[in-house]
Symmetry: C2
Subunit: 242 residues, 2 copies
DNA sequence: CGTTCACTTGACTTGGCTCAATTCAAGTGG
DNA sequence: CCACTTGAATTGAGCCAAGTCAAGTGAACG
């Protein structure tokens, strides 16, 4: 049960560059770029379920997600895992207080990221400013998640997670209980185990919570990864936040 | 059981300025300063157990802790509370993705803070850069805390908390198991309830965990707020991180 | 010297975990 | 096209860690 953290490696799973529309050279170690020292960073395409970096790797670059989805997770020595952030377009990751990364990053789906040299970012005020806005939003999301992990029941956690997946809802800008029987079809994009590791539960408990929601007629599970939410408002009511 | 969040107010509990060594004027609403528009921000002294801002207040300024201790917490509508961050000197708070604060901030002990206008910070690259370093460290601390809340047992949580209180240990720079029977006396500076709200437990469970540590001869509780740690290494072993 | 407030401890309850079996969906190959 | 394999999800049964409720203790203070 010893964790994957032991397999330290410079995991840079760049997808076959032939899919890139730009004239990007298929450089071996992805360090070269069109113009050297460009502060705008370097775009990379990363395949599904690939690690961009691992906990403990040297943290000499940081990343911004252009599109796709990435999860950040940490492992305890005995193998327990906690997904600490779920990232979507615009989010920043790879920041660290130490010279090494504090967590691992893995794509949930094929994604595009921009890589910046850590030193370059500290040099460029404009870049720092642009990234900061996103970092602050992520800070708030982490606060919210701490409430979930520390104080919410299993059902509330899953309800919160489903809300989070509904486009335009569940975030900071969620309009709250603007009821009206609005339904939505939601792609989870994660396995039950990954959801469990995000919500601080076991996969069985997550499964039971979904079943409970189905039993109550609040959701229907179409294709195991696809959830039909009949009434978004009713789920929102179960999150504990209203 | 309805929460204190209902009592919205502009809680700026500035301590009696006569204790200030500087020639700070006892301004009524603390907006004036020696030189207007100073990007360096404005120093304030805040008494113990005072709110600097509350969840939902307009977030037009952000703060850096000079000395003392501050906790940030969030409330659920039914009164459940989660302390989301414990801050010490240098830490930044009051950042938000929205125009209002996402959490409340309360001093644990009398503290000094520097208040910056939110707009001014975005203008000043140097200031932003200086604050960012701390923000990144706090991000890592939040990741660490998510692991605690999501995956650690009650005893592991309390052990982690005690480690966190040992000066120079438990943080990112903790040397790990450099054993050698080093003891330490630790001031908690928080009630059992506050600790519980930080660790996602109840105050009874926190109390039992302390008793268990005492029973095992790992700590001794001198004055209820003061814990004598006989062997830091043994506590560290119980945190789940080693 | 009583009052208060924080903490501790005990008895009981329960939500979520563990372990194990079953179902379901999606290949794979004969 | 169907039997088989494989991996993920669901469901059930039992258990235990942590929560709840209720005393009891002890230090601080007027």
């Amino acid at each position: 049960m010893k964790p994957a953290i032991a397999q330290r490696s410079f995991t840079v799973a760049v997808e076959s560059p032939c899919r890139l529309p730009t004239s990007h050279r298929p450089a071996a170690v992805q360090t070269s770029h069109r113009r050297d020292e460009e502060p705008q960073g370097q775009r990379q395409r990363v395949g599904q379920h690939a690690h961009i970096f691992r906990e403990g790797d040297r943290a000499d670059r940081l990343y911004q997600l252009v599109d796709g989805a990435v999860m950040l997770y940490k492992l305890l020595p005995d193998g327990r895992r906690q997904v600490v952030e779920l990232l979507s377009a615009g989010d920043v990751f790879g920041l660290s207080a130490l010279p090494v990364y504090d967590c691992s990053s893995e794509t949930l789906v094929a994604s595009n990221v921009i890589a910046y040299e850590r030193a370059a970012v500290e040099q460029s005020p404009e870049l720092l400013r642009r990234l900061s806005a996103h970092v602050h939003a992520q800070l708030c999301a982490l606060h919210e998640h701490a409430v979930l992990l520390g104080r919410k029941s299993a059902l509330e956690r899953v309800a919160t997670f489903v809300m989070h997946c509904v486009p335009g809802r569940g975030g900071f800008d969620c309009a709250g209980p603007r009821c009206g029987g609005d339904s939505a079809v939601v792609r989870l994009g994660m396995t039950r185990q990954e959801i469990a590791d995000y919500l601080g539960l076991t996969l069985e408990t997550v499964s039971r919570a979904f079943s409970e929601l189905r039993r109550r007629g609040i959701i229907a599970i179409d294709k195991q990864e696809e959830v039909r939410v009949h009434d978004v408002c009713r789920i929102c009511q179960l999150t504990g936040a209203h």
